[in-house]
Amino acid sequence: MSRSHASAGTSGADGHASPTAGTTVHVRVLRQDAPAQESYWERHDVPYEPNMNVISVLQRIAAAARAKDGRRVAPVAWDCNCLEEVCGSCTMLVNGRTRMACTALVDKLLEENPEEIELKPMSKFPVVRDLVVDRGRVFRALERVQAWVPVDGSYDHGPGPRISPEQQEDAYPLSTCMSCGCCLEACPQFTKIEVHQRSGESVEQLAQRRDEAYDDGFVGAHAISQAVLFNNHPTGKMIADERMTALTAPGGIQMCGNAQNCVAVCPKQIPLTRSIARAGRAATVWAIKKLFDR
């Protein structure tokens, strides 16, 4: 009793020491029960443990299934998979900033704001439930720019061309993109597109209508960067022109307003501004070429 009192006193004295066992972490979650429903705030208290991340906080919240006021509530839903910042599925707004929940450490967050941790779903993607969003547009954008090496076929093409160490070094950072969508969430030029199912509409019809709506919007920094990655790959280059057509189509690279939030928030620290500038240069050359080749 007296021991725990003393330790609480020590941590309170210098104010910034990390909280000790017995402390409570206050969490505020923006919840939403289903698509197109109203969202609402809910408070949760979680006993502090050393080395917690936002995922473990959410696990405690789910296990308790009680709000701060004692009401029994449905567990808060969230997405995660790898827990080591490589799968890109756990993106959410933690204290108002887009980041990966798995690498958002509670000790660091309490340094930012000792009062509470605020969790919100991403604001640029349709909410499925609570903190789970539909990041389908991230992947649709990769389809738009054909972010892959086209090697499908029915016979063996033999080994591909050699890639120099310099090229590898250039490509590697871009290849670490995990489609988390942080760059899109923070981008002031990237605005939300949400398509709801109409009554009597089949899932296929909905999917088609959604893709069409997505294809009108900005492709986003990640897709521009992936187009650069594959246009500089010796085999990926084969469809470089198709990628340039996509990048200069409506919603393409011209929608970027150079805010550089993407590069500031990318958890993989991908040099996105560099990719955008390189794609901009390629688009300049491409547009001039097209002007004279017609």
Binding site: G96, V195, M255, N258, A259, A264, I276
Partner: protein, 267 residues
């Protein structure tokens, strides 16, 4: 949000081309005009005669001046501003959540664009002859310094000009940097760093020129400026009356001729 309607307007179909022309128009001709305009104005620091002879040079275009103004200044600026407002409307500034330098510059780029827009319209009404029917049009090309100084010397007007000019300068200097990304002029971190120096240099130089011109106008003695201008005009008329500079100058003109050089001595 759910009512997203795919629009197939001319603007939508030609988005890439229009945005690139927009970006280009910010540099040429609108940005180039800004540079020439501010440096011309700064010549007032060399005295009323210096500024007057620059203005005379521009006005020697005569009847060509109006079409040139519309083709190379007003219309491109209207185009840039129109597309600029469309871009501003499509964005969702978020400096509150992401207070990074790049994002602050992005937001300032939009804010200064809008300030510059309001300022430029007011500035044209205030000094350009297009504003004459509205009680403006206070600039008299035959009395360049004295008329401009009279119009600009009230403190409130000077302050509004300072805000407008600095907004336009920031917008242009920062726009220069982003333009390099748009067109892919600087793609490596080192090149981007050098581009930052270039943009800051251009911004500081133009800002100094703009504020210098304003300071020059504020410290002008209107009476003296008017005297110099009148004398310069007399010389011009005399030369015209003699049937061009090729003829031998009449007696008396020889004395005045040196004043056609940029800096006439004060009386």
């Amino acid at each position: 949000m759910s009512q997203h309607e795919p629009s197939r307007s001319f603007f939508y179909r030609n988005q890439f081309l229009i945005y690139r022309l927009f970006s280009l128009s910010g540099l040429i001709p609108v940005g180039a005009f800004l540079v020439v305009h501010l440096l011309t104005n700064a010549s007032v620091l060399g005295g009323a005669g210096a500024f007057q002879s620059r203005v005379d040079m521009i006005h020697s275009l005569g009847p060509l001046l109006v079409p040139i103004e519309w083709a190379f200044i007003f219309l491109p600026m209207l185009f840039h501003a129109t597309v600029g407002f469309v871009i501003i409307a499509g964005g969702l500034p978020n400096v509150g959540s992401y207070p990074y330098v790049g994002n602050i510059r992005y937001t300032l780029q939009r804010a200064t664009g809008m300030i510059a827009f309001v300022f430029i319209i007011w500035h044209i009404m205030h000094l350009h002859w297009l504003g004459t029917p509205f009680g403006g049009g206070k600039f008299d090309p035959h009395h360049a310094t004295s008329s401009a100084a009279t119009a600009l010397q009230p403190l409130g007007i000077s302050l509004l000009y300072a805000i407008g000019v600095l907004s336009a300068v920031f917008h242009f200097a920062n726009g220069l940097w982003t333009l390099g990304i748009t067109w892919g002029l600087w793609t490596s971190p080192a090149a981007m760093r050098r581009a930052s120096y270039l943009s800051i240099g251009v911004g500081v130089l133009l800002g100094a020129a703009g504020l210098g011109a304003l300071g020059g106008m504020r410290s002008t003695n209107v009476e003296q400026a008017r005297a110099i201008e009148t004398r310069m005009e007399d010389v011009k008329h005399m030369l015209d009356g003699q049937g061009g500079a090729g003829n031998a100058p009449a007696a008396g003109t020889a004395l005045e001729l040196p004043q056609l050089k940029l800096t006439p001595p004060l009386p």
